[in-house]
């Protein structure tokens, strides 16, 4: 069964074509990356897959259900999203915010259970945020906010994770830590991730499938090994990109 599927999806925003008749199938255990230049609509595509952007033609199916007919609560139990930028203006604590990941699982007026709180603690531990538990979220740094967004996503425990530039603002240690954590979850628990990434080397290291947005409505997708080649990447980013082989590993660098 496909976890997520698009059929004949056509999408545009501000009179700019993002994709045309796209048929994409996401299965359990896959790590996808979305690549493309600034402004080609990577984030809009991601939001569409999450059911958060609704002006499109075609269909998006989540576990064989039309996503537009599902309630936000039903979707939130399957899909978790990490947005590109979070601006938090209220002085709620880190602890309160991470528990929001369990919102879809509690009843209307209910409080969070002891189990929810245990999940939250584990997620804060995994993201190195335990010390900041009582810090107001409007006082967090960019990188700390990112890690809190990840912790919320972990607590939500979705089958499909949609991450929009997840490593923005993060130190190197946390970049690799985050991607390791997410990809381990995908492989070990048969979940899936689709993420917008700008660093081709991170894509090569962590992702097995790729979607390339060319900016004219054309989309190419397939195995990372086949798409991550010098000519394609150079054309995609409008800048010459070279490959450097080093033993068994290879790296891309801009010429």
């Amino acid at each position: 069964m496909n976890l997520l599927e698009t059929r004949q999806l056509s999408l545009s925003r501000a009179n700019k074509k993002i994709c045309h008749n796209l048929d994409l199938q996401i299965k359990a255990g896959e790590c996808w990356a979305i690549l493309g230049q600034n402004g080609v609509g990577k984030s809009t595509l991601l939001l569409t897959l999450a059911g958060l952007f609704e002006s499109y033609q075609g269909d998006v199916f989540l576990q064989e259900h039309v996503i537009q007919k599902m309630s936000r609560r039903e979707i939130a139990k399957i899909i978790g999203v990490m947005l590109q930028d979070d601006v938090w203006s209220f002085p709620a604590s880190v602890e309160e915010f991470v528990l929001h990941g369990r919102h879809a699982y509690r009843s209307g007026l209910g409080d969070f259970s002891a189990q929810d709180k245990a999940f939250a603690k584990q997620a804060l531990c995994d993201t190195d945020l335990l010390e900041l538990v009582h810090r107001p979220v409007n006082q967090l740094s960019g990188g700390e906010s990112r890690r809190l967004a990840l912790a919320t996503l972990l607590v939500q425990a979705p089958k499909l994770m949609l991450l929009d530039e997840p490593v923005n603002h993060l130190d190197l240690k946390y970049q690799i830590g985050l991607l390791n954590l997410v990809c381990d979850i995908v492989k070990n628990q048969q979940k899936s991730v689709i993420m917008v990434l700008h660093d081709v080397n991170l894509v090569q290291r962590f992702c097995d499938k790729i979607v390339m947005l060319w900016g004219d409505g054309n989309i190419e997708y397939g195995l990372a090994d086949e798409l991550l080649v010098e000519e394609k990447l150079s054309a995609l980013y409008g800048h010459k990109i070279c490959k450097l082989e080093q033993g068994e590993k290879s790296f891309f660098y801009p010429a």
């Binding site: 936000r72 002085p91 309160e96 919102h103």
Partner: protein, 319 residues
């Protein structure tokens, strides 16, 4: 919960204080006797027919403004939003001032205020409200522009108004609790809206993250936004029709309470109810007793209390 209990006791203390103060000062015992006694005497008339209705109206208006402020702040995702930011009070003011110029007075003015407030909020709703979260700035922009438009009309009306009605117009604009109509229905409506909102308190908590994020976590943002807008509009319209536009209560009370109670709306909304009411009640008591025998508009007092308090809070947060 202990904090809510403390706020409840504070509200009672404020009410008793307000009842005992005025041009005829009374002891607590006299207030108590006047409230309970059946024998008509001068104290009984003052308490039951003059002070008590005013105390109730002040408390209800304060509660409505504080709750509406908290809702607006969530809806616009801006802790500095107040209930009037989208032009609701401006619409009411234009309707009331026009009425005053035409010589209308009394309960009809309340009706005009309500009409103006409702029309203005509907105007903003249809011009500025869009389903998609990406347009959330549009509501704020539309509201602020409409409010500016009302502001211009208010200036125009004031400059055209005959001198004799100018004073009552200015009083209305600054917020005035001097006439207190029957408040049974107001209380019922406030209580109903409050209970409905409490039902969605958890959703409001998640909505603090922003609309897209809340939607991705399972909040049906589309519906909650409409609920928030309508509730805040109704509460503000009622408050404005009872007391004109009273500055700072809707801004400062939720802000203050977030510092002491936290951001959980299951506690914050009841706290706004209790402390918003108490705050306006205190301000109103000051407004009628500070310059005896003169009464000053309560809006001037709330602003005088609110401005230093607000600046203090801002500094405390920054340091």
């Amino acid at each position: 919960m202990t904090k809510l209990l403390a706020l409840f006791i504070f509200a009672i203390v404020c009410a008793v204080f307000a009842l005992s103060q005025g041009s005829v000062a009374m002891s607590l015992l006299e207030v108590w006797q006047a409230l309970l006694s059946s024998a008509p005497n001068s104290h009984e008339v003052i308490i039951r027919e003059i002070r008590l209705p005013r105390v109730i109206t002040a408390f209800l208006v304060g509660a409505m403004l504080a709750i509406a402020g908290a809702l607006m702040q969530i809806l616009l995702r801006n802790p500095l939003a107040d209930p009037y930011i989208l032009g609701i009070s401006g619409g009411a003011a234009v309707a009331v001032l026009s009425g005053m110029m035409l010589g209308i007075s009394g309960v009809l003015l309340d009706g005009l205020a309500l009409l103006g407030a409702v029309l203005s909020s509907l105007l903003v709703f249809f011009l500025g409200f869009r389903q998609h979260a990406e347009y959330s700035d549009r509501l704020l922009l539309t509201g602020v522009v409409i409010a500016a438009g009302w502001g211009a009309l208010i200036s125009l009306l004031l400059s055209l108004a005959p001198d004799m009605s100018l004073r009552s117009m200015l009083f209305w604009l600054m917020g005035d609790l001097s006439h207190s109509p029957e408040s049974g229905y107001t209380f019922l409506l406030l209580l109903t809206l409050f209970l409905v909102l409490m039902r969605y308190a958890n959703d409001l908590n998640v909505l603090m993250r922003g609309e897209l994020s809340a939607a991705s976590l399972g909040v049906s943002v589309k519906h909650i936004r409409i609920l928030l807008y309508l509730s805040a509009s109704i509460l503000t319209a009622m408050a404005v029709s009872l007391a004109g536009s009273i500055a700072f209560v809707g801004l400062i009370v939720p802000h203050l309470l977030r510092l002491f109670i936290g951001t959980n709306h299951k506690l914050l909304l009841p706290a706004c109810f209790l402390f918003g009411g108490s705050f306006l009640l205190l301000a109103d008591t000051l407004s009628r007793t500070l310059f005896l025998p003169q009464t000053v508009p309560v809006g001037a007092i709330t602003a005088m209390l609110g401005v230093p308090l607000f600046i203090y809070l801002m500094h405390r947060r920054l340091s």
